[in-house]
């Protein structure tokens, strides 16, 4: 009998295995892929912050959906803030996820992404749109979303703060193989805590597709040629980015990280932008944000 037990136990143990991970849990920052060495070298040899007056830029993430009939009115307001009122001081992205972003026969384009779904699940479990994240500020305990009536005040409040860091993006795009090298330079102005992460997103502007709009007459609320602005399409280094260091980054430290990325065929590279932002992985708060067109005009 003991032999049977021993054999049975050995079989169960043999089927299983464990990998116990001890601290430190974070991987060192190394960038990704196979970046163009000339592009990286050029970026490293230049000092993009030399003589530059670094200003605070606010990351504005609008949560929307192509079947959300209440969204176009608020999207226009957000887009106007980005292009007019706070031009140059705001980085703008639209996040399509949740119930109102589902596809159907009339709304066949799937604007959802893995990164978008994870952000939506984290910041907007109520599945309510339109809402916005403004520097991912936690305006009440556990509440990150801002209704439209709060947008202006929240952006004003964030812009007024002094910048903790500067970000500069250099893009080198090769049209023949759609390969992009992105070099992100970071300059810490204040000491940045150990859990500061760098996130790199790809957004695409000017996507013409269907959108529901409740402002239109009841029988004609589905617009075929609606222009969707700055849609989050992908993340180069995961939903939550990478830690820039395993320990606190002292003030006046420059870091350079490079990434290689192939622009998918269904993205219009001419309308794509790289958005980079530094944020606190624990509190989610965004310290600084920057954007750069993939193909400079």
């Amino acid at each position: 009998m003991n032999r049977i037990f021993t054999v049975c136990f050995a079989i169960i143990v043999g089927l299983t295995a464990c990998d116990v991970i001890d601290s430190p849990y974070v991987e060192p920052i190394v960038g990704q892929g196979d970046p163009d060495p000339t592009c990286v070298e050029d970026a490293q040899n230049a000092d993009p912050f030399d003589g530059v007056n670094i200003q605070r830029k606010v990351l504005f993430t609008e949560m929307t959906g192509h079947k959300c009939g209440n969204c176009p009115k608020e999207s226009e307001k957000a887009y106007d803030m980005y292009t007019n009122t706070y031009q140059g001081r705001m980085v703008f992205m639209t996040l399509h996820a949740g119930f109102f972003s589902r596809t159907s026969t009339k709304f066949p384009t799937d604007f959802t992404t893995t990164v978008g779904d994870e952000l939506f699940q984290t910041f907007n479990p109520q599945d309510a749109v339109p809402f916005a994240l403004i520097n991912r500020v936690e305006r009440e305990p556990g509440v990150f979303t801002h209704g439209t009536d709060l947008w202006t005040a929240a952006v004003e409040s964030e812009i007024a703060k002094s910048p903790s860091a500067g970000i500069h993006i250099k893009n080198c795009y090769e049209e023949s193989d759609r390969k992009l090298t992105t070099v992100v330079d970071i300059l810490s102005i204040d000491e940045l805590p150990a859990n500061t992460h760098l996130s790199i997103f790809v957004v695409e502007d000017g996507i013409v597709d269907w959108q529901k709009d409740y402002r239109l007459p009841r029988d004609n609320q589905d617009i075929e040629d609606y222009v969707h602005h700055y849609v989050i399409r992908d993340a180069l280094n995961g939903t939550w980015g990478q830690p820039i260091s395993s320990e606190a980054t002292p003030a006046n430290r420059r870091l350079t990280v490079s990434y290689a990325y192939t622009i998918p065929d269904n993205f219009n590279a001419d309308n794509c932008y790289i958005v980079a932002f530094l944020h606190n992985f624990e509190s989610r708060y965004v310290y600084q944000a920057e954007e750069r067109r993939v193909v400079e005009k």
């Binding site: 049975c8 169960i12 299983t16 295995a17 990998d19 974070v26 991987e27 109520q126």
Partner: protein
């Protein structure tokens, strides 16, 4: 509407064809037999601004399956066809389409079972491993692989499996490997067969391999959960206990915490004629176990954490159902059932049954020690945050041969922030009263009525409900009910959720047709929940087992 009529005809035709082919006994050819089941649920949707229900472009959507099982002697094989054209609202859009996601072949004898294909199984209560299907929740986490059960001697059973889990119409990236050993000492030890003391002991392990693709964190590729359990009973007493442990498994649902997980589940029961008492205790700490790291809701669960709260069946209290919180909770339940004997002052001519149930679940007392990655939690310390509390009492009395009533009172405290993720909303406290009466009009004809009222100042405010159900057994059932959310703080949402349906049942076949409004909320089965959006429309449901 044309598509709705076409769909209804097609579905009814298929159902009638299956019914005529297989009758109720399945199809028998010599020593072989084919058995199966069929179900189709369809809904025609209307837009309804009052309850915020959406129309759909297709107008009509449906979920359908047909499962066939072939058996000859010790060999069996089966397939299940599923179609989501398109999926009913509230189901995951990844189901959209059709296919055969389930098939298996099995050899079965007293000492050996071998199954290849899709496997459903469970080790103990499921804290280490459970694969199952729940059609109404849209959950199917069957393991596609190889499963072997060995019973070398009576009373000893070993199970082992390896495979990948079903992920809608695809398979998960993670590979599961595990085994379970269970010994029934009353069969295993000579002389204990007739002992009043019954003892079973088991142990299990389940490991998942998943590549570390993260550029940010160092993630474990092999994660294993272990468990041990026992069931002991003697006379009127019985006791069951299970402990499970899982090594570090950071992923999006536990906020990338590197703590090891553990869970304990204890149940004690005393029962004698007319009296039953059950007490249960559970503590769960970081025991969410999935076969992939990026999951959104309830897909790809490797284990199952049993609930220790009562699953209410009356409609109004089901607005606030409790779902197990796998990242951490501690709680317990006491259940008391007493039957006042017949022909006593309180028991009356037929006796009276009283049920009292109390359960409570709190969060754990935890504090983070290393930034966001590890926390400390006291072994038995409950946190201050109360997740759920339920006190309910039910009295059932039969007054005469025709008439019986059930009176129920329920108090619930529901932490809507934790259970539904509605950040910033206050705890919901509700008081529910239900009066149910059943009157047998004549042989085969029965009328059942419910009056329900739920009082609360929070969330959607108070509700009232009335239901009448007339049944002509064994074939016809007619139901009408109305839920009225008269206390909704938004006057425009003080809506009636009216509903009417009828069903025809003949042996293993059932057809049901209805129209009504469905309120938004959580639909839960066994402590596992999915969100159902509000809807307005016609419903058609066909089912058959043969």
């Amino acid at each position: 509407m044309t598509s709705a009529i076409r769909f209804a005809w097609l579905t009814v035709f298929s159902w009638a064809l299956l019914h005529s082919l297989f009758a109720q006994q399945g199809l028998k050819i010599g020593e072989s037999s084919v058995h199966g089941s069929f179900q189709s649920d369809a809904q025609y949707y209307f837009e309804d601004e009052v309850i915020q229900a959406q129309a759909v472009d297709e107008n009509l959507r449906s979920n359908t399956f047909l499962q066939l099982t072939f058996q000859q002697g010790k060999f069996s094989a089966g397939v299940r066809y599923e179609a989501y054209l398109n999926e009913l609202l509230g189901f995951r859009p990844e189901y959209r389409g059709q296919g055969i996601p389930y098939r298996f072949a099995k050899y079965s004898s007293d000492q050996l079972d071998i199954t290849v294909g899709n496997i459903y199984d469970q080790f103990g209560s499921g804290m280490v491993f459970r694969s199952y299907q729940e059609w109404f929740l849209g959950i199917d986490n069957s393991v596609d692989g190889v499963h072997v059960r060995l019973a070398p001697v009576p009373g000893l059973q070993l199970k082992g499996l390896v495979g990948t889990q079903r992920k809608f119409f695809e398979r998960s990236k993670g590979i599961l490997r595990g085994g379970d050993l269970e010994a029934d000492f009353n069969q295993l030890i000579p002389g204990m067969e007739k002992s009043k003391t019954r003892l079973r002991i088991g142990g299990s392990a389940m490991s998942r391999f998943l590549e570390d693709e993260s550029t940010t964190l160092q993630l474990p590729e092999n994660v294993t959960a272990f468990g041990g359990r026992m069931a002991l009973s003697r006379g009127k007493f019985s006791f069951q206990g299970e402990y499970a442990y899982k090594i570090n498994d950071p992923f999006n649902r536990n906020n990338f915490v590197y703590n090891d997980g553990n869970g304990i589940f204890l149940t004690g029961t005393y029962s004698q004629k007319g009296l039953g008492i059950t007490a249960a205790f559970k503590r769960i700490d970081n025991m969410d176990f999935r076969s992939e790291r990026s999951v959104v809701f309830e897909e790809l669960t490797v284990n199952f954490l049993p609930p220790t709260t009562l699953q209410h069946t009356y409609r109004l209290p089901t607005l606030y159902p409790y779902a197990t919180q796998p990242n951490g909770e501690i709680g317990g339940q006491i259940d008391f059932i007493y039957r006042i004997p017949k022909k006593t002052a309180l028991g009356g001519k037929y006796g009276t049954q009283i049920s009292v149930n109390y359960s409570r679940v709190n969060g754990l007392d935890t504090s983070f020690v290393d930034s966001v990655f590890t926390y400390e939690s006291s072994t038995l310390g409950a946190g201050d945050k109360r997740y759920f509390e339920d006190f309910n009492i039910q009295i059932s009395k039969k007054w005469n041969k025709r008439f019986k009533t059930t009176l129920t009172y329920i108090y619930l405290l529901y932490n809507i922030e934790v259970v539904e993720g509605l950040i910033g909303q206050p705890d919901v406290r509700v008081h529910v009263g239900v009066l149910e009466g059943s009157y047998k009009i004549k042989r085969g004809h029965n009328l059942r009525c419910e009056l329900q009222h739920m009082y609360t100042k929070e969330n959607l405010g108070s509700w009232a409900m009335a239901l009448a159900e007339y049944s002509i057994s064994p074939h016809w059932f007619f139901t009408v009910f109305d839920e009225y959310n008269y206390g909704n703080p938004d006057e425009a949402r003080q809506a009636h959720y009216y509903n009417g349906s009828f069903a025809y049942v003949n042996g293993g076949n059932r057809i049901q047709f209805g129209y009504g409004r469905q309120r938004a909320g959580l639909l839960c089965v066994g402590g596992i929940c999915r969100f159902v959006p509000a809807s307005n429309g016609f419903t058609l449901s066909l089912s058959s087992t043969f």
